[in-house]
Structures are given as structure tokens and as C-alpha cells.
């Protein structure tokens, strides 16, 4: 078995590295950035099993808490009956619709889960078509209708309550340069639902990367990669900052494809049309992160401030013209007396602007214990332009299009060079790496 170099020690890089190591390769993992404690996203049972991992996956419960105008709070729980009770206080009709909504969405999410654990199907894949057909008429029609729909339209069809629709709509457009009235955002609701229990439309957090990070079997190097070497159309290794070369006939990159193929590979090796397409891949960051230190721990785990679809849409309107949302939607996760605030929208170039902290603090003041200190954090380094999916997860950059049709199969035109980052199908941390490693095994 040959030497392998994996670039990037995020969940994808780690999963791919350990899978290849278990398959007998000698793997070196180049960690370019500091490790992150928690991984956001579904951890499929198959992945945990193949890596023999005992992963802790958790959702906050209630997984959604949204304050109501006249006091009180909407709470959505894993327990559907408790959610129904909470919704009933807003609208009896909505409460009645919730279980059915959850079932319909689950059916589609289960389909996505199966699609996510494989390389993307081809657009005219017969098996894929048959699989969709097997869902039965209702789910199939849902799938075709829902995929291209604005999430706002979907929610309007089911519910009347502004708070419910606002919060669900906001979570669907998380990290997307679109608002809830944009077509294709209903798909995003399903994306975050995949891998979660029925009725939970939020990705879990896990210790996937943390577990793998400390596990033996893969050689770890802390360094920055400055180039990927290619000879005669085949990859020969990577060059580290400082000039050291790691030779390997198999290189996987969890870095974003643009960096991998445009910056790390020497000019002139790839089709200029492919490079042009890579430059056109959209990867716009739209969120800022604020860490708050509170006087005391709040009595809840999560809080979402997105009172209506129009509110979220107006927040989006600002970023269309390159402005920070005057009234952003906010999603808070508390851990003891520390709270992490997701602030959307802020254009990437302004994502550490001082006003962001002030705006968030002002909006949150009524719901939080007093804030001792707030800090706006720059997005993690591996996120190109601040986009965690590396390529915005929109329908034209999903499935067989992700990140480009020519690259959707994880391999590149350079023999031995593979892509395994978040920009790859299915844009779930760890699973892109899992799929990529399995494809290498098949090749």
C-alpha cells in the first residue's frame, strides 16, 4: 500500500485519513490550522462503525427556542408532543399541522441520507430516478416540488405563525447568501434535517473530529502546504512551507477546491475552462460569530431570534448590497456562562466589524443575563471567504454539480489527487471525507 498525504485536519480530512490508514495505507495528515473541538453535522452510523468510533452526538433539547412578542417562548423539542403543545399556544392549526409536516419532511430527509452516503448520482442516473420513484407518489411529488422551492413558500403552505416560520426559515438559510424567499432554500431545510430525528431541523454537534484527532494510526504534521507537485499528469506529493516535500502518489485535499487546484497546483496543468469554472464557484461567507461571556449561565441551551420570514428576508436584503444586516437574525448556543452567537447576515469582508457585537448585544439584551464581555471572532481559516461549506450549498452547487460537475466524483483531472472537503458532496463534515476514501478504495 502506498503513501498518502491528506491536507487539512478537519472532520473530512481526519475521516478520510483514518479510513485509508485502516485500509493499509501509510497516511500523513498535514494539519494546517488548529483543531476544532466540536463538529457540526450528522454522523452516520456506518461511518462510526467503520472507524470503530464511539461518537457522542447531541442536539439541544428543545432544539429550537424562539421568544414570542408578548413574552413567552416557542419551544420545539425532540418529543413531538411537547412541540405540538408549545405551538398550540401560537396557533391551533399550526399545532395540528406539525406532526404531518414532520413526517413528510422525514420521508424526504431519509432519501437525502441515502444519497449523502454515496458519491453524487448522475443527473440521468436511472437508479437514482427509480429510487425517487420508489418513494411513492406523495413523497416523490414532495421531492420534486420542494427541492426548488423557497423555504418561505413551503412554510407558508403549512403554517401561519410568524415565529415558527421565521425561525425555521432562518435555520434553512444558515450560511447561505440567500433569504428564505429565494428558490432552492426548502432543500436547505431538508439538508439540515438529514441525520436528525423526525421533527428536528437542526444539525447535531459531535466530538467526531476531536476523537479522531487524538487517535493513533495516522502521522500528523503541523504545517502549511505551499504546493502540490505533479509530474506527467500524476500527483507526486506536497510541498510544505519551508520547502520540505512529502512524496506520495496519492494526495487528498480537504482544503477548498479553488485553493487546491488554482493555488496549490502549478499553473498550466488544468483546463483553463475548468479553472474559470472554479473561480466562478460561489463561496460567500454571510455570517459573523460572537462569543459572549455572561454574568451567569442562562437556564437554556439555545435561542433563535428570527421573529418572521419578512424579518429574515429584510436581514438578507442588506447583504445583497454589501451591508451588514441592520436587524440580523441570531442563533445563540449557550454553554454555561459562555454563549456563541451566530449573526447573519454580514458580508465576509465586514464579518469582524465592531458594530456586529453591538447590534447583537442590543437585540439579545432582553433575553440574556447581563453580558460581561463580547468578542467578534474571525471565521476559521479553512473557510474560503468565510463560507463553511467551501462552496455555497445551493441547488446549482449540490449533488452532481458539487462543486463542479467535472469534480463531483471526488477525483480531479490530476491522477492521484482527490478532493475530500466540505465543498464536496454532501457538504456534511466527515461524510465528504468518508465518501472520498471509499471512492479511492473502489478506484
Amino acid at each position: 500500500m502506498s503513501d498518502v498525504v491528506v491536507i487539512g485536519a478537519d472532520a473530512n480530512g481526519l475521516v478520510a485519513a483514518h479510513l485509508l490508514a485502516r485500509a493499509g495505507h501509510k497516511v500523513t495528515l498535514v494539519q494546517e490550522h488548529g483543531a476544532r473541538e466540536r463538529t457540526s453535522g450528522w454522523v452516520p452510523a456506518a461511518l462510526a462503525r467503520e472507524l470503530a468510533l464511539d461518537v457522542a452526538v447531541e442536539w439541544p433539547d428543545p432544539w429550537l427556542r424562539a421568544p414570542l412578542d408578548g413574552g413567552g417562548v416557542l419551544e420545539l423539542w425532540r418529543d413531538r408532543a411537547k412541540s405540538v403543545d408549545s405551538i398550540r399556544r401560537l396557533s391551533a392549526r399550526d399545532a395540528g399541522a406539525w406532526p404531518r409536516f414532520c413526517e413528510r419532511m422525514s420521508a424526504l430527509a431519509r432519501l437525502l441520507e441515502r444519497i449523502y452516503l454515496e458519491p453524487p448520482p448522475s443527473l440521468v442516473d436511472l437508479r437514482f430516478a427509480l429510487r425517487v420513484r420508489r418513494l411513492g407518489r406523495e413523497a416523490m411529488e414532495d421531492f420534486m416540488r420542494l427541492l426548488p422551492m423557497p423555504v418561505a413558500e413551503l412554510l407558508d403552505e403549512w403554517f401561519a405563525s410568524d415565529v415558527l416560520k421565521g425561525a425555521l426559515g432562518a435555520l434553512a438559510v444558515r450560511h447561505l447568501h440567500q433569504g428564505p424567499r429565494s428558490a432552492g432554500t426548502a432543500f436547505r431545510l431538508l439538508h439540515y434535517h438529514a441525520g436528525s430525528p423526525s421533527g428536528v431541523f437542526r444539525s447535531p454537534m459531535s466530538n467526531l473530529a476531536a476523537l479522531l484527532h487524538t487517535r493513533a494510526g495516522v502521522g500528523m504534521r503541523e504545517a502549511k502546504v505551499s504546493g502540490i507537485t505533479v509530474r506527467g499528469g500524476e500527483v507526486t506529493g506536497v510541498v510544505l512551507d519551508g520547502g520540505q516535500e512529502l512524496r506520495a502518489p496519492l494526495v487528498l485535499s480537504a482544503a477548498d477546491p479553488r485553493r487546491t487546484l488554482v493555488e496549490l497546483v502549478e499553473p498550466g496543468l488544468l483546463d483553463p475552462d475548468l479553472l474559470r469554472a472554479l473561480r466562478n464557484v460561489r463561496a460567500r461567507g454571510v455570517a459573523a460569530k460572537i462569543v459572549l461571556t455572561l454574568e451567569r449561565a442562562p437556564e437554556w441551551q439555545t435561542l433563535t431570534l428570527a421573529p418572521s420570514l419578512d424579518y429574515v428576508e429584510r436581514a438578507y436584503d442588506d447583504v445583497k448590497y454589501g451591508r451588514i444586516s441592520a436587524k440580523p437574525w441570531l442563533d445563540v448556543m449557550a454553554d454555561g456562562a459562555s454563549a456563541e452567537v451566530h449573526f447573519q447576515y454580514a458580508p465576509h469582508e465586514q464579518s469582524t466589524d465592531a458594530t456586529i457585537g453591538e447590534r447583537a448585544a442590543k437585540l439579545l439584551a432582553p433575553y440574556l443575563p447581563p453580558i460581561k464581555q463580547g468578542k467578534v471572532l474571525a471565521p476559521p481559516a479553512p473557510w474560503p471567504e468565510g463560507q463553511p461549506h467551501q462552496a455555497e450549498l445551493a441547488l446549482d452547487q449540490a449533488f452532481w454539480m458539487r462543486p463542479l460537475p467535472e469534480l463531483a466524483g471526488y477525483c480531479t483531472p490530476i491522477k492521484g489527487l482527490w478532493l475530500c472537503g466540505q465543498a464536496m458532496h454532501p457538504a456534511v463534515a466527515g461524510i465528504a471525507g468518508y465518501n472520498c476514501a471509499r471512492e479511492i478504495g473502489r478506484a
Binding site: 498550466g268 483546463d271 479553472l275
Partner: protein
């Protein structure tokens, strides 16, 4: 409105025929006199002056200028000496020809590229990651082409240096700063003169003045077309469809299929289309681009059968004419006409490789008095006309 060239003020009054043709969005003379015949013969006997300003021109400068051009074109640009000019096609990633033109090395890090189609975007896209500056100088540079046996003497008389075939050098002609290259599109002894657009009229006057004792004449595109046919030189959009404009696969051509295999330098480690061209070379191209001669006796017979004297095209035609062999269509001619010099009916044609060897008997479709007929023809080597003075 179409653009006029920097020489328009001079060419317009000379254009007695009022026959203008479009070329890359400009108007240029088809012929100046009422027929183009004399203009053609001047190319072969004295010197003809063409306004070739509509050519697209790019300055490529910087540390990686040679590297960029080497990625783009099929020939080896970095090996070219300063003062050398290369004729070359360039391909897309699939090895299909996008355009053809020249690359002139003006100094170590400066090149001038000419092309038939606009190429700024393509050059820029290929320049990703390279230290190079690309400027479109099409409108800023006026270009004349002086072609014919007397061309060298005329230019020497106003201060041009002696140049070898496909060389370029700066010069001062009659006080005007220019670059002169020994290049052309006629297959004859010829030069091209490049000057700033502001000096165009003075340059025209100087060359015309110097050429008068030698019998210089301005000439239009009809005469040029005849000369390039005799020289076996391809014309974009006529003899091949550039890859960017092809609607279907079968419209694409590789350099090998256009008889430009000699320009493909597979020793270069990388350039657009290399992998595809390596494979095609190993496989052998499906098509070849060759010369075709129609047999006079056959032609004469076809006309005689209907009681007419043989009719010959008065200018180079540009259309697709089927060619047959062994009872089936084996290719098509794309340019053709009667060579007034060689006294032959000649054409440039795409033939399936099996029928492309010189001497292969063919039949060319002819419409004789409203009827489709076939005249005997055969594949021949290009160029049809190749005087020693061209490269001497």
C-alpha cells in the same frame, strides 16, 4: 457603424470599385480597381500594399509572458530568439484549434501576438497565477502588409533593415518608428509593418511614395485571397471552424487535421490540448487538409457536353464543395479557384486520411449549367506556389 482602419483616409479615395468587405468589424477594400486581377498580379510581379489593421493584436509583457504563451500556443515560444516570429495555432483543452496567428518576440519579456478572433479573455484566463500583463492593442496599432518581389527593395529604400524569413526588427521608416517583420499571407516575399495608429497616414504615404518606382499598388482582399490559396494558407471561418464557434463535434479540427502538425511541439511539458494531441498523434488524425487540383480535360469535357466553353471562377470561392472517391464522399473543399499564375483550378480540402495521399484520384462536385456534375481531380501537395524568394 462599422469601424474604419487608421488608413481609411487614404484607402477610401483609392477605392474606385466601391467594393468593401467586412473584416473583424472593420471595412476594408475588396479591390481598389474595378476588377481585382491587376492587384493579384502585382503581388507576384512587383509589390502590393494591403491594409491589415483589423487583425487583433495583443502585447504580452512580463516575467511569465513567454510561459503564458507557451501554455496557450502549440509551438515553443520560450525557445524563440528575440526578433523571431512564429506562426502558430492554439487549441482548447481538447486539442481543437481555436485560432491561428503569429507570436513575435520583441525582447526577452515582451511579445506581440496577432490573431483572427478576439483573444483577450482567453489569454487572461490562461494567465491565472502568472506574472504577466496583457494589453489589447488592436485599435492602437496600424498594420500594413507589403507583398511581392519588390517589397524588400522598397522598404530598404526608406531605411528598413534586411530581415530573414519570419524575423522582426524595429526600424525607422522615413522618420516613423515602426517594427517590420518578414511575414505575410501571400506565400511570396513580403513584409508587415506595424506602427502607432497616429502615424498611419504618414507611413502609408512613405511606403507608397517609395514604392512608386517599383510599381507598387494598393491591393484588396480579393487579390489576397487568391494569393493565400496558391500559398495553401488556411483561413479561419472558411477552412475551419474555430473551436469556440463550433456547434457540433464534427465541426472541430485539430492542428493535425489542418496540416499544422508541424507546429505542434509535443516536447513542451504542458500546453492546452497537449494530452489530446499526444493521443491523436499516436492514433493518426482522422482527417487531413490537402491541396486538390481539378483536371482541366475533365472540366472542359463537362462544359463541352452542354455546348459551352469552360467557365472558371473569377475569384476565390469560399464554400463547402463535396469530394468523392471510390463512389462515396470522402471530403470537402472549403476554398478554391482558378490560379491565374499556375493556370490550374485548385482548392484546399479536408479529406479523410485514407484518401489524402498526394496523387489520390478524386472527383469534385461542379455545377455545370444548373446540373450537378463531378470533375476529375486529385490530391496534391501544398503549397501550390512556393517561389524561392519567399524565404531567400
Amino acid at each position: 457603424m462599422l469601424k474604419t482602419t487608421p488608413f481609411h483616409e487614404r484607402t477610401a479615395p483609392l477605392c474606385a470599385s466601391h467594393a468593401w468587405r467586412r473584416w473583424a468589424g472593420h471595412v476594408v477594400a475588396s479591390s481598389y480597381e474595378l476588377t481585382h486581377e491587376r492587384e493579384y498580379h502585382v503581388i507576384r510581379t512587383a509589390a502590393a500594399l494591403f491594409d491589415v489593421s483589423p487583425l487583433y493584436k495583443y502585447m504580452v509583457r512580463g516575467r511569465d509572458a513567454g510561459r503564458l504563451l507557451d501554455l496557450v500556443v502549440t509551438r515553443n515560444v520560450q525557445k524563440a530568439a528575440v526578433g523571431q516570429v512564429l506562426y502558430t495555432p492554439w487549441c482548447d483543452h481538447a486539442g481543437k484549434v481555436m485560432d491561428d496567428g503569429t507570436v513575435a518576440r520583441l525582447n526577452d519579456t515582451t511579445f506581440r501576438m496577432t490573431s483572427a478572433e478576439p483573444n483577450l479573455r482567453w489569454l487572461q484566463d490562461n494567465a491565472a497565477g502568472l506574472e504577466v500583463d496583457i494589453t489589447d492593442v488592436t485599435g492602437g496599432i496600424a498594420a500594413l502588409s507589403l507583398q511581392g518581389p519588390a517589397a524588400g527593395s522598397i522598404l530598404a529604400s526608406i531605411g528598413a533593415p534586411a530581415l530573414k524569413y519570419f524575423r522582426i526588427a524595429p526600424a525607422t521608416l522615413h522618420g516613423i518608428a515602426v517594427t517590420v517583420s518578414r511575414t505575410g499571407y501571400t506565400g511570396d516575399l513580403g513584409y508587415e509593418i506595424w506602427a502607432e495608429a497616429g502615424n498611419a497616414l504618414a507611413l502609408w504615404d512613405a511606403v507608397m511614395e517609395a514604392g512608386r518606382p517599383y510599381g507598387i499598388m494598393p491591393a484588396g482582399l480579393l487579390a489576397l485571397d487568391m494569393a493565400r490559396l496558391e500559398a495553401g494558407l488556411i483561413l479561419i471561418d472558411v477552412d475551419y471552424v474555430p473551436a469556440r464557434k463550433a456547434l457540433i463535434e464534427s465541426q472541430l479540427s485539430s492542428p493535425y487535421e489542418l496540416d499544422l502538425g508541424w507546429t505542434v511541439n509535443l516536447d513542451k511539458e504542458r500546453f492546452n490540448g497537449r494530452d489530446a494531441l499526444v493521443a491523436e498523434k499516436a492514433r493518426g488524425p482522422a482527417w487531413q487538409f490537402v491541396g486538390v487540383e481539378v483536371e482541366w480535360s475533365s472540366l472542359e469535357r463537362l462544359y463541352a457536353e452542354v455546348g459551352l466553353a469552360t467557365r472558371l471562377p473569377s475569384a476565390t470561392w469560399r464554400m463547402s464543395v463535396p469530394l468523392y472517391a471510390d463512389g462515396e464522399q470522402v471530403g470537402y473543399a472549403t476554398s478554391g479557384g482558378w490560379s491565374p499564375l499556375l493556370k490550374k483550378y485548385i482548392a484546399l480540402a479536408h479529406l479523410r486520411s485514407r484518401w489524402a495521399a498526394p496523387g489520390t484520384p478524386l472527383e469534385m462536385e461542379m455545377t455545370v449549367e444548373h446540373r450537378r456534375r463531378r470533375a476529375a481531380a486529385r490530391a496534391v501537395k501544398k503549397p501550390f506556389f512556393d517561389p524561392p524568394r519567399k524565404r531567400a
